[in-house]
Symmetry: C2
Subunit: 198 residues, 2 copies
Amino acid sequence: MARRSDHSRPELTELAVKAGVELIEKKGLSGFSARAVARKIGYTVGTLYHVFGDMDGFMLHIHGQTLDDLYAFLTKKLERSKKPSLDILAHGYLDFARAHFNRWDALFTFRTTASNEIPPWYAAKLRGLFLLTETALMPHVGNNEQAAQKHARILWSGIHGICVLSVSGKLDIVNADKAEKQIDMLLETYMAGVEKQL
Amino acid sequence: MARRSDHSRPELTELAVKAGVELIEKKGLSGFSARAVARKIGYTVGTLYHVFGDMDGFMLHIHGQTLDDLYAFLTKKLERSKKPSLDILAHGYLDFARAHFNRWDALFTFRTTASNEIPPWYAAKLRGLFLLTETALMPHVGNNEQAAQKHARILWSGIHGICVLSVSGKLDIVNADKAEKQIDMLLETYMAGVEKQL
DNA sequence: CGGCATTATTAAACAGTGTTCAATAATAAT
DNA sequence: ATTATTATTGAACACTGTTTAATAATGCCG
């Protein structure tokens, strides 16, 4: 029996999340299971349930890690580039989706059950990501915060949609442009429309 | 034992697909399983495997039905309205996603395994749906077919993205506009950009 | 029509899943 | 040192997709 003082609860949480992330990253969602994680960290499923409640709660923590990684990935790109922020963000999102496809994909395959609401700490991570786009949009909408929010949401929806359809490769029926070009076109065209409406 | 002549193979296929659709529609993907369908139609799982190969093959047929229903839904709306086709299609897509959420959701939760490629009959259904948008776009791009294809794809990505984020309700963090308004804004802004670029 | 080959259907089994729970080991509190 | 609390376990439950040998039902052919 693992001595309970082998890992503090935060340590155990981190250990499990890390193991889960590795499993998903390497084998996709199908390679991820309570028992697989337990085996990997030398504990039993019961311990995971003790820490996370259920697998949905566990997943939420893994997704939290993914959101953190995405945020770090995007902000780093923003810092190191002189190009317009919107382009960086949009293409960065695509890059991340490609580089961590299984994990990114899991983010949207996941469904919160009615009983398991989204916790505030998770909502905050999402808000932070949205803020990046809103901030990048501000100069294009005369620093109108409300307008920035609206357009950020729509633009991100579009970028996300392009990524879904192209990265999954499943709906690539039409002989379509590469995702990069589609993103450029979306940004160009949409922002041209925004400018025109000012 | 069910007499093999109770249903011809096409009949059996239709029976199973119908049962599967009902299960997903009512209880979501979690209520859908080989055994649940088998029980519903009075056969055994073995028969389902005999007909569909595996559950992915089965799913594909269910999704085929969903695409057919979506197509019928959209074309009917197009016929009965005098409003611009793009608006009808975009809002129709949202309406369908809402009315058949579980089924629509399953469409994208589903992942084709590497071995199980998308069959031509399925690709054709997708192509048909895309064509609706392309046709609607034609008059806005000077009847340039290539341009219509590009913009159709991007626009549908955007519409789809908005539906995903709003219908699932999971990422509704920001106090956002209703999906309808977002769709209108996307269409207005993007098409304004298209016009400007002509 | 009878017998043979084919095909459809079944039941049972396998390995895996999420989840629960009593028992027990390890710690904290008194 | 004894008691109360908490962490961990292992076994169980009811599921899941999938495979397979046996069998029932049919089509074919002489």
